[in-house]
Amino acid sequence: MCLALAPAPARAGRAPLQLFVTQPYLELHTGPGRGFPVTQVVARGESVDVLFRRTDWFKVRTERGILGWASVHDLSLTVMADGTPFAVDTGTLSGFRTHRWEGGVFAGAYAGATLISAYAAMSLTDNLKVEADLAQFLGNVSDGYLVDIGLAHVFVPQWRVSPFVTLGTGFTRTEPKATFVQPIDRNDQLAYAGGGLRLYLTRRFFLRGEYRTDVVITKTNSYEVNPEWRLGFAFFY
């Protein structure tokens, strides 16, 4: 079975975490998933070494050297050598309120063009975040990119559905399609303001939807106002 396969190469020389079974037994699966069969159990009082993690599953080695996969739920019932329960942070609503980093991907529309975007944010406080965003828009008339940085203020971060507003600045590069107009690429500065909602899903994941108004300051001292909306999937750490 899987258990017979050679163990993964050892990483850093630190000793693995040792956990003691307190429930009647700990089930070990042959693979990192609920459907993989249980071929070994570890009895109460015995211990396992935790080797590494994959999603919600931990590869462990028993005292007899047998390898298997234990679920995060089952391991949360074990204790460490000092008797304290083994706690795993898989993400909670309180983590949604207080965290350091977040990131995500979006799909949306920008001035009539289709928008694809990815963002990363760092929390200054539970309410205030610094965000950076990279987006590509693909339209019938022109394509281009947006790069921006700004601040986001989340009003009630502890709510499962929490509203926020954003304000920032950035650059846009517009590449008109050759078939329509004379292809002159433009690099312009922009500023944006907007707002939206964050919806906590589960674990470390949330949905984020927002609407922005982008003001593009062109080289001809005029400006364009472009609407932008986006909806995406994000996670926090």
Partner: protein, 277 residues
């Protein structure tokens, strides 16, 4: 006859002594065998009953007081010989053991999460109207749960010639640079059929048949177009850190290469290898 009676009496006395020596003195019959030797034999006084008393009176029972004391030590008989000492022992409060061992503190070592897969792939991409050409690319996967994963991929290929170009002799619809076909996709995958595959009697490898779909962009023929990709793949893990893939995907986008907007389907079949980090 007289000799026989002597032998019987002797053997009876010996038997009693042996019984007393084996700690049976507590039994009433042993009391009767009050030989001096039997009294020492009730070193059985050092039995749990004595230590339970924990009092000096209890240990006094260890004196050659005879088997009778030994027998009664199981009860409160300690007081019989121990006198006052035995009585004092009853008033003592139980001693609470205070361990002088410092609590062991455990620093939780970081448990590495191998949820990220980085890899490369190679295969065939059928660019609509431009023939099937080799395609190669890089991809990164992040396994969110045992069911779902994110995938970002970047691939490139080179378009061939349309049948019109081949038949017309010399006509080129696209320049050399415009034949370059590059794309990226951001996809969400679902491990639809996880399982194991078996090789021989001893080797089993975890595997999964997954569906995948997402959005992205194609840069081809001098223009960029929004792309929707969807398909299915099969992943097998020979070890915990290595993964082999077979993927079939359709890249769908609208282009106007022939001055008419049309939806194109570009099928891609690849094999790949990835490493978990």
């Amino acid at each position: 006859m007289e000799t026989r009676i002597r032998i019987l009496l002797l053997s009876a006395a010996l038997g009693a002594a042996v019984l007393a020596g084996t700690g049976c003195a507590a039994h009433p019959p042993a009391r009767t065998a009050a030989a001096p030797g039997a009294g020492n034999g009730t070193g059985g006084n050092g039995s749990p009953a004595v230590t339970d008393n924990g009092s000096p009176g209890g240990t006094d029972n260890g004196s050659p007081g005879g088997a009778g004391n030994g027998g009664s030590s199981g009860t409160n008989g300690a007081g019989a010989n121990g006198g006052d000492a035995g009585g004092d022992s009853g008033d003592e409060s139980p001693v609470i053991v205070q361990p002088q061992v410092q609590r062991r503190s455990v620093t939780v070592p970081h448990i590495g999460a191998r949820d990220v897969e980085l890899g490369a792939y190679y295969g065939i991409l059928s660019i609509e109207d431009f023939g099937a050409q080799p395609v190669q690319g890089l991809k990164a996967d992040y396994h969110i749960t045992e069911d779902f994963f994110f995938e970002g991929s970047y691939g490139q290929s080179r378009a061939g010639e349309t049948s019109y170009e081949l038949l017309s002799g010399g006509v080129q619809l696209l320049s050399n640079a415009e034949r370059r076909f590059t794309y990226y996709n951001l996809s969400l995958g679902y491990n639809m059929l996880p399982g194991e595959i078996f090789i021989g009697h001893t080797v089993a490898m975890t595997s999964a048949l997954y569906m995948i779909g997402g959005i992205g962009s194609v840069d081809f023929a001098g223009e960029q177009n929004f792309t929707v990709n969807f398909g299915a793949g099969f992943r097998v893990l020979p070890t915990d850190w290595l993964s082999l893939h077979v993927d079939v995907q359709d890249l769908v986008f609208r282009d106007d290469i022939f001055s008419v907007y049309r939806l194109t389907n570009n099928l891609q079949a690849t094999v790949g290898i990835s490493v978990f980090f």
